[in-house]
């Protein structure tokens, strides 16, 4: 890894375990001969906003798949709130408050937009068959979930689609739904995989504000994969750069932007685009 991390560590070193909500220790994964993630380590401090950037195929999505438990690590440990999670089922990880979204937005097409959101709410008594006879509790919970879903939809301008099948939404709208759905789960750590790609810039700005508010008011922590560097520079207080399955740089956004290794590996052409 490039030394940049230590260079900027004066501000960023949250290695004191009390503050690390997520601690990724030397994780790797391999599928046959492919090794999308190789010996990756980093810590995420509580209430921070970190972006992960890197060229296509760098292993960013694979990293999220490992953290969320959808794929299992071949080696290494993942500690979430002082608990090793690398070997437990993804639904258990989600129940602990670690929620992720999917690149390309996975929505349930044959549920309505509102239903997509409502299914994300945690602790629903109606999710268990044993709750079948608790009619009152179920109804109250549903009413609250619905109200919250409508608030989320209002936030992203999808209110009029609430009772339509989610399958009719456009690509950009699906992204909004996916993001809103993750928020419905009230995560303490949210992993966002390119949530803004294909969303119109005005709305992106608004969403960034929403995320900022959540960070402040609900003490949420964010890990974001994003290609648009302007967005990254705006929103993050730390940037991790990946290439070929490894972290090649890790530091403050400004420092990353000037970093030679990063420029060579990734930014080169993009920097020109922005300027």
């Amino acid at each position: 890894m490039e030394n940049l991390a230590s260079a900027s560590s004066t501000n960023l070193d949250n290695s004191s375990p009390d503050f690390a909500i997520l601690d990724v220790r030397n994780i790797s994964v391999s599928f046959g001969g492919v090794r999308p993630v190789q010996d990756v380590s980093f810590k995420i401090s509580e209430n921070s906003f970190t972006s992960v950037i890197g060229p296509n195929g760098a292993g960013k999505t694979s990293l999220f798949n490992l953290i969320s438990g959808m794929n299992k690590v071949s080696a290494g440990e993942i500690i979430f709130r002082q608990q090793a999670i690398q070997a437990i089922h993804p639904h258990k990880i989600a129940q602990k408050g670690l929620i992720r979204t999917f690149q390309g937005a996975k929505i349930i097409k044959r549920l309505t937009v509102a239903e997509n959101l409502m299914m994300a709410v945690q602790g629903n008594p109606g999710d268990n068959l044993s709750g079948f006879l608790r009619i009152r509790a179920r109804r109250d919970f549903e009413a609250q979930a619905r109200a919250e879903a409508m608030r989320r939809l209002d936030q992203v301008g999808l209110t009029k689609f609430a009772d339509e099948y989610a399958g009719i939404l456009s690509g950009g709208q699906r992204k909004l739904l996916d993001l809103s759905r993750a928020l419905m789960a009230k995560p303490s750590l949210l992993l966002l995989d390119e949530p803004f790609a294909g969303v119109n810039p005005t709305l992106v700005e608004k969403l960034i504000m929403v995320l900022g508010e959540l960070r402040k008011e609900k003490s949420m922590t964010f890990l974001l994969i994003e290609h648009d560097l302007e967005t990254v520079m705006n929103i993050s207080d730390r940037v991790i750069v990946m290439a070929d399955g490894k972290i090649i740089a890790d530091g403050l956004p400004g420092a990353i932007y000037e970093n030679e290794v990063v420029i060579d590996a990734y930014l080169g052409s993009r920097r020109k685009e922005i300027k």
Binding site: H89, K92, K106, I108, K109, Q122, L129, R138, F141, E142
Partner: protein
């Protein structure tokens, strides 16, 4: 063609429709809500039917206890099927489920001491020696027949009494199923029929939801077996061939898999199709021998399934939109 205007024919159709309606309701929950393609559903009906027959005939159990045990065993069979094969992806599960039902049938076929074996028929006897039960159920059927007699006269029959027993249950089960399908449990289940990752990433144990669904569906399959045993009183392994599962599927496809309400009409249509093949005696079908004509039923039902899949994949009552979303 006279047969179709005989009330007795329609009474038989309705009795059969009620039983197969309950049977298909099990598939509806599994496939229509959970997207689980169970092609071995007949196994659940066979297990409960045979359990009842064996316990009543060989061990002189009361019908009700035998029925209870039969349904419990059907549920356990569903759980066993799920625990062993539900982790397979959809198509592979479908194949495994066929194998599972076949194993059940072969077991029945080869366990002579318990089930009657290849010679097969287990007759649940009444005091006269055939076709009935010695205890409560028969009394209930007779009681109903006696009440019907003043109204319908000689048309009062065992079949007609069966209608009055089966249909209230069918309505009750459809009501329960539709309530169940309005819960958030069913919402998660509907999500799982499209995608595992989303519900998992939101904290839902997809396997648990599927397993529960399979067991609930199997309970309905088992209950259908109870009424089957009551209706036919004669059980032979060839009653529980694979095709029976597809009778259920035909009803389901006809009804529109995602809607419970179409199930009633679809069941009656199936009952009609099933019952009427007995009467296909007119030319040129009269050239066929009677076992050959029995096969016509299978052809006919296969044909209807194919036609539906081509022309109306959403069923007669389903929403097309739900089928075409990408």
């Amino acid at each position: 063609m006279d047969a179709f205007v005989q009330p007795g024919f329609w009474v038989f159709v309705l009795a059969l429709a009620g039983i197969y309606g309950i049977f298909a309701l099990g598939l509806q929950i599994q496939y229509g809500v959970g997207g689980i393609m169970n092609f071995g559903h007949v196994g659940m009906m066979a297990v409960s039917g045979y359990t009842i027959a064996v316990l009543v005939i060989k061990y002189q159990w009361s019908f009700w206890w035998a029925a209870f045990v039969g349904v419990v065993l059907a549920a356990l069979l569903g759980a066993l099927l799920g625990l062993t094969t539900l982790r397979l992806s959809g198509d592979y599960f479908a194949i495994a489920s066929i194998a599972f039902a076949e194993i059940t049938r072969y077991w029945i076929l080869n366990t002579d001491s318990v089930t009657g074996g290849t010679q097969g028929t287990l007759a649940i006897p009444n005091p006269l020696g055939f076709g009935g039960y010695t205890n409560q159920p028969d009394l209930i059927l007779t009681w109903i027949s006696d009440r019907l007699y003043p109204i319908v006269g000689d048309e009062a029959s065992r079949d007609m009494s069966m209608i009055f027993i089966v249909w209230p249950f069918l309505f009750l089960f459809i009501w329960i199923a539709s309530k169940l399908q309005q819960t958030s449990w069913a919402r998660v289940l509907r999500a799982t029929r499209e995608d595992d990752d989303v519900p998992r990433s939101l904290g839902k144990n997809v396997f648990r939801f599927r397993l529960q669904t399979l067991v609930i569906g199997s309970v309905f399959g088992g209950i259908a077996g109870v009424f089957w045993a009551l209706q036919f009183a004669l059980l032979a392994p060839e009653d529980f061939l694979r095709i029976v599962t597809f009778y259920g599927w035909m009803i389901l496809i006809l009804a529109g898999a995602t809607r419970v309400k179409g199930l009633i009409i679809a069941s009656i249509f199936f009952g009609f199709l099933y019952g009427s093949t007995r009467f296909l005696e007119f030319w040129p079908l009269s050239l066929l021998s009677s076992p050959e004509r029995a096969y016509l039923r299978v052809f006919l039902i296969g044909f209807v399934i194919i036609l539906l899949m081509l022309k109306r994949p959403q069923g007669l009552f389903g929403k097309r939109q739900e089928m075409v979303l990408e």
